[in-house]
C-alpha cells in the first residue's frame, strides 16, 4: 500500500487568527526527513487529520520555496475544522499529501495573470500570488480581484496592501456588504473585471471561489474574447482519499482530487453548473 494512505505527524508551530472564524496553522512534519522531501506546487492540497475526529482537504497557501514549514488557512465550518481551530502550539495533526494537480504555472510564464477570487477562495490562489511575487520578472501584469460577502470577511489586508506596491500589480476589492471605511467597491467581484484594461491576448485567468461566482467570471471573460484554454479554476468537492480511489469528488468523468482540483475551462465546460454533477 502506498504511504500516501498513511497520515504523517506534523506539529503546529504557529497559529494566526485571520478573522472571527478563519485561522491559519503553520506546521512542519515531526520527522525532519519528511519535511525535507515534502514538495508541492501552488494549488495542491493536503488531507489534514484531526486525530480521533476526521480528515479534511485543505489547500496549501505557501510558495513552494518555503521548505521548512507549510501553512493551512481554514474556516470553521464543521466538526474537523472546529476541532482544528482549538489546537495549540506543539499539538499534532496528521498530514497526507500533497495531492492533485495545481495551477498551470508553466503555461502562465511570460503572460499577464488575472486572479479572481471569492471569499476564502483566495486561499488556494495566495500560493500563486506568492509564487508570482517571488518570481516577478517571469510574468507580465498581475491583476488581483478579491470579493467577499461582508467587508469584515476580508483577510490578509496587509498582504494585499504590500502586493499593490509592486510594479504592474493591481489589486481591486469588492464586498457585497460594505462597511464604513471600506476601501474597495460595493458589489460583486465579477463586476471588477470591467474596470480593468486587460490585454486579452496576453492573459491567463485563474479563478477560485463559489461556483456561481466562477461561472459569472467565466461568462464575462469569454465575452471579452478570452479563449477557453486560458481560463483555469479550482473546484471544490467532498474529497476523502485524495488520490482518485474512492470517487466521492467526481464531476462527470473527472476526479477532482486527482485530475484537479485545478481545471482548464475547456475540460469541464460541459459539467460546470450542471445540476447534480
Amino acid at each position: 500500500m502506498s504511504d500516501l494512505f498513511l497520515p504523517r505527524v506534523a506539529v503546529i508551530d504557529q497559529r494566526t487568527q485571520e478573522s472571527s472564524n478563519i485561522f491559519t496553522l503553520r506546521m512542519q512534519f515531526e520527522d525532519s526527513d519528511a519535511q525535507e522531501t515534502f514538495s508541492f506546487s501552488p494549488g495542491q492540497f493536503n488531507m489534514v487529520t484531526l486525530f480521533g475526529v476526521g480528515e479534511i482537504a485543505i489547500s496549501i497557501v505557501n510558495d513552494p520555496l518555503d521548505s521548512h514549514f507549510f501553512d493551512h488557512t481554514i474556516r470553521i465550518v464543521g466538526r474537523v475544522s472546529e476541532g482544528l481551530s482549538k489546537l495549540k502550539l506543539g499539538d499534532h495533526v496528521g498530514i497526507r499529501g500533497p495531492f492533485g494537480r495545481g495551477w498551470p504555472m508553466q503555461e502562465a510564464q511570460g503572460r499577464d495573470v488575472l486572479l479572481v477570487t471569492g471569499g476564502l477562495g483566495c486561499a488556494p490562489l495566495v500560493s500563486v500570488i506568492r509564487y508570482l511575487m517571488n518570481r516577478r520578472d517571469q510574468f507580465g501584469h498581475i491583476n488581483i480581484l478579491q470579493g467577499v460577502k461582508h467587508a469584515n470577511d476580508l483577510i490578509w489586508r496587509e498582504q494585499y496592501e504590500k502586493w499593490i506596491q509592486e510594479k504592474d500589480v493591481k489589486v481591486l476589492l469588492a464586498a457585497d456588504v460594505a462597511t464604513q471605511g471600506w476601501q474597495g467597491q460595493q458589489g460583486m467581484v465579477t463586476e471588477l473585471i470591467d474596470q480593468l484594461s486587460l490585454r486579452i491576448g496576453r492573459i491567463i485567468a485563474l479563478l477560485c471561489g463559489p461556483e456561481l461566482m466562477m461561472m459569472a467570471a467565466i461568462a464575462n471573460l469569454r465575452s471579452l474574447g478570452l479563449p477557453d484554454n486560458q481560463i483555469w479554476f479550482s473546484m471544490e468537492r467532498n474529497m476523502q482519499c485524495g488520490m482518485g480511489q474512492c470517487g466521492h469528488c467526481q464531476i462527470g468523468p473527472k476526479l477532482v482530487c486527482r485530475d484537479g482540483p485545478v481545471f482548464c475551462y475547456s475540460e469541464l465546460a460541459d459539467f460546470l453548473g450542471s445540476k447534480g454533477f
Partner: protein, 65 residues
C-alpha cells in the same frame, strides 16, 4: 463543501449511479463499470432494468434533472 450536498434529490443520485457506471467509469478506469452479470436487473426490489434506463438516457437526451 462542508454541509453542502452536491446531489440533493434521488433523481440526481440515480442519474449519477447510471451514468457513472456506464460512462464516467470508462474515462476514470479505462473500462466499463458494468460486467453485464444481470444481477441488478434480476434482484432489483423496484424493478429497475439497467438496460432500459440506459436506453432512456441515450434517446431521451438531457441529463439535467
Amino acid at each position: 463543501m462542508a454541509g453542502f450536498q452536491v446531489r440533493t434529490n434521488p433523481m440526481q443520485r440515480y442519474r449519477q449511479w447510471l451514468t457513472h457506471k456506464l460512462a464516467g467509469w470508462q474515462e476514470q478506469q479505462g473500462r466499463i463499470g458494468c460486467t453485464g452479470c444481470g444481477r441488478c436487473i434480476a434482484w432489483c426490489p423496484v424493478g429497475i432494468d439497467l438496460t432500459e434506463e440506459a436506453e432512456a438516457i441515450l434517446w431521451e437526451g438531457s441529463l439535467d434533472v
